[in-house]
């Protein structure tokens, strides 16, 4: 793939809509199911992923001409692991309560396929600013997906948003149960598919 010709805003929009990491690329779905029980959790993990993605993309983009092709995957992994360690320690130090709630998932950012994939597909071939905006787009797309899921599940499950009581009653406690995460992700994917189908049909007709 040659260097990208897209503008910065197109790169960001691309991450949120066309190539949304969770709903379109179907990558890194473990956190989408596991901890999207509230908007706050989604926001926090989204920020963590955003930081790791942007920093790793920039790092790889800076050193992209010095990486030997044979060891590029280990290089990506170690870069990501370093940034995840940084985020992990920062969260543990400044937000102990939220860190406890997210549990092992912060450390598991290291195994999220989406970050490695963007490094392989984009950052190692493009300039630093383009990689930065691509990272921002992907991070925001992930955050958007997590917050949408969190919004639906928190509102329907607990009747609250960001911890504030909105509905005053709990419509469907089922949605807080982790098993409902699978249903929510499945239905959201179906909605994305439906929108795409409808859009294509309109373009044709």
């Amino acid at each position: 793939m040659p260097a990208t010709t897209k503008t910065n805003s197109q790169l960001v929009i691309n991450g949120i809509l066309n190539e949304n990491p969770i709903f379109r690329l179907a990558l890194s779905m473990c956190p989408a199911v596991g901890i999207s029980t509230s908007v706050m959790n989604g926001l926090l993990l989204g920020i963590a992923v955003l930081f790791v993605q942007v920093f790793s993309s920039c790092t790889i983009s800076v050193i992209r001409n010095y990486i030997h092709p044979k060891i590029r995957i280990p290089t990506y992994t170690l870069t990501i692991a370093t940034w995840v360690t940084v985020i992990d320690l920062v969260l543990a130090a400044y937000m102990p309560a939220a860190y406890k709630e997210m549990g092992i998932f912060v450390k598991l950012i290291v195994a999220f396929a989406i970050i490695t994939m963007r490094l392989e597909m984009f950052a190692c071939k493009n300039s630093v600013p383009a990689s930065f905006w691509d990272g921002v787009g992907m991070g925001l797309g992930f955050m958007f997906a997590m917050m949408t899921l969190g919004f639906v599940r928190e509102l329907l499950g607990m009747g609250t948003l960001f911890g504030y009581d909105i509905l005053g009653f709990k419509p469907l406690l089922f949605f807080v149960l982790p098993a409902a995460g699978f249903f929510c992700v499945g239905i959201m994917m179906a909605i994305y598919n439906y929108v795409e189908l409808a859009y294509n049909r309109k373009k044709k007709g």
């Binding site: 779905m29 195994a111 598919n193």
Partner: protein, 320 residues
């Protein structure tokens, strides 16, 4: 030349096994033969010889606490001794939490007029039962896919056909046992003593890639037929969160060698079970008339949700 190399391989495997055994064993006092829980609130101590009755009846000679909370000493209600003076039963005022190992401190054991010193003994449930409960726990009750929601990318990617699912499951089990044992060893003997805990993410992910590469190389040489069947799945294993989650859980819970082995084995087999169940359903789904928007992944997610609901039925179950 070939036999020579094989000997080295066997020797190194034996050395690793020996180290694991060392990690699993704990020293005990020589005069105490056996300790065990009895009913819900008593502990039976069996001595190798008869002990002094006046000493045995004195409750201040015993102090006992749960292993995680050394500050909270449990209160002993009464002590009874058997006619041959070899068995002592301690009855406690409150019920014991038998899932936790207890540390029993018996001071100045007196037997036939001689003092035999102070003993620290661990009281816990039958060790094999405990190990078995870790295995079953990781396999079914806390199934990593359906109850902990990890490893989903690979789970949905390889559960389309039964043959692929089984191949992936077996490869994954081999790799995870291998890498978890190495991670346990490195964490206990290198990272912890030198206070390098904060490096665990970097070290564990490196170890995982390393063990995948090692399994790849060994399998290619030792059993080319097996490599042909399972080689393609090896690359996918690295992308699986479970393989990195298990070492992190081991490190958090301070498991010893045997417990780590059981957890890793349980995680691998649990993943195999989940893949097999899912692939059976998805083979049927191919024949069904699914709405266009739900085709492919969305319907697979809904099916996984149903499985997760079913697996919730296991939660809270305890064995032994």
């Amino acid at each position: 030349m070939k036999n020579f190399r094989r000997e080295y391989l066997i020797l190194s495997i034996l050395a690793v096994l020996g180290l694991i055994l060392l990690g699993g064993c704990k020293p005990e006092h020589r005069f105490i033969k056996k300790t065990a829980f009895k009913d819900i609130n008593s502990i039976v101590i069996t001595f190798a010889g008869p002990v002094d009755e006046a000493w045995a009846k004195n409750t201040s000679n015993y102090s006992i606490y749960e292993k995680p909370d050394p500050d909270i000493k449990l209160k002993i209600g009464q002590v009874s001794i058997s006619p041959d003076k070899r068995t002592v039963v301690l009855t406690f005022e409150e019920d014991l939490n038998q899932d936790q190992p207890h540390i029993l401190n018996i001071s100045e054991i007196i037997s036939e007029g001689k003092s035999l010193g102070t003993a620290f003994v661990k009281v816990k449930k039958l060790y094999f039962g405990y190990l078995f409960s870790i295995l079953i726990g990781a396999m079914i009750i806390n199934n990593f896919v359906f109850a902990k929601y990890l490893g989903l990318c690979v789970f949905f990617g390889t559960s389309q056909k039964k043959s692929t699912a089984v191949g992936m499951g077996i490869t994954f089990t081999i790799v995870i046992v291998f890498s978890a044992m190495m991670a346990w060893f490195l964490y206990q003997f290198v990272l912890k003593p030198y206070r390098l805990d904060f490096l665990q993410i970097v070290v564990f992910i490196g170890l995982v890639s390393l063990s995948v590469q090692a399994v790849d190389t060994i399998l290619r040489k030792v059993n080319p037929a097996l490599f042909k069947a399972f080689g393609v799945y090896l690359v996918l294993v690295i992308a699986n969160c479970i393989v990195i989650a298990v070492p992190l859980i081991l490190a958090d819970n301070e498991y010893n060698g045997w417990e780590s082995l059981m957890l890793a084995l349980g995680a691998g087999l649990g993943f195999l079970i989940a893949l097999f169940l899912m692939s059976s359903v998805r083979e049927r789904l191919d024949l069904a008339n699914v709405p266009t928007t739900y085709r492919g992944l969305p319907i697979a997610f809904v099916v996984a949700g149903l499985f997760a609901l079913a697996f919730m039925g296991f939660s809270g179950m305890s064995i032994f």
